[in-house]
């Protein structure tokens, strides 16, 4: 998956830009190792081409467009799933190797691997 930058309103929404689109925050978790972080975002109902990933100025933006519109001729009997698309913005205050960011979408879960820059890794200091 490519990291692409999309609409500037998404990257920098402000009170004056008149954000009318309703979005919701997906469930996610973050796991950290010494070499990399892994962010897992739940995006059920979002196909691969509906995911947009952007990393800019240490802000990771994940957008997932859901397409769960009711097909024509169908009547809704019961509704619990939200039709809203997802938006998650995470500010990463760890230096990440931007070029080595890897993402995959599997079973409605987006997994993003964020390798840390060498200098950010903890290092052992020998006692003289």
């Amino acid at each position: 998956m490519n990291t692409t930058c999309h609409t500037p309103t998404c990257c920098a929404p402000s009170a004056t830009s008149g954000v009318t689109e309703s979005l919701r925050k997906p469930l996610y978790n973050v796991h950290g190792g010494t070499d990399a972080y892994e962010v897992r975002v739940e995006l059920p109902g979002v196909p691969k081409n509906g995911v947009k990933l952007d990393f800019d100025d240490n802000i990771l933006t994940v957008r997932g467009e859901r397409n769960i519109s009711v097909p024509e001729g169908m009547r809704t009997l019961h509704r619990e799933l939200s039709p809203l698309s997802y938006l998650l913005r995470l500010r990463l205050n760890a230096p990440v190797e931007e070029e080595k960011l890897v993402a995959k979408l599997e079973d409605g879960v987006l997994t993003i691997a964020l390798p840390l820059k060498q200098a950010a890794k903890p290092r052992q200091i020998a006692i003289q």
Partner: protein
Amino acid sequence: MKLIRTNPSALARVSGFDEWFRHPFAGLPSLGHFFNNLSEVFPGVTGDRLAVDVHEDKDAFHASFEVPGVKKEDVKIELNEGMLTVSAEKREKNGDNESSLRLSRSVSVSDGVNAEAISARLEDGVLRVTLPKAEHRKPRSIALN
């Protein structure tokens, strides 16, 4: 006097950043972060119930369940005495630790369903179960003589 209207909740949802603080020694995100999220684990759904949508067309009922992160082999679908039950086991692996979470949901199904012809597919974390209507329950037009 000027009135300034704000909608903090809507604004927070769009522009609110989630910070993830890194402890300089532990190298792990703060725990508080995970606790903040607990209340959102299943929005609108209590306990371990799966959220479901049910639609109907002239040929079938269509039930959609959200099961992100669940593999095909970890889903069980049963129809028993008019109740359609979907059980899913969500497994997550973090290094050496493996956790699993059981989720299920039962939906009452009308007796006009052709149990033999029920089908299901799992796509992008959504399980779609199609329950075809039995012949006698389909709308039919009656010709006038």
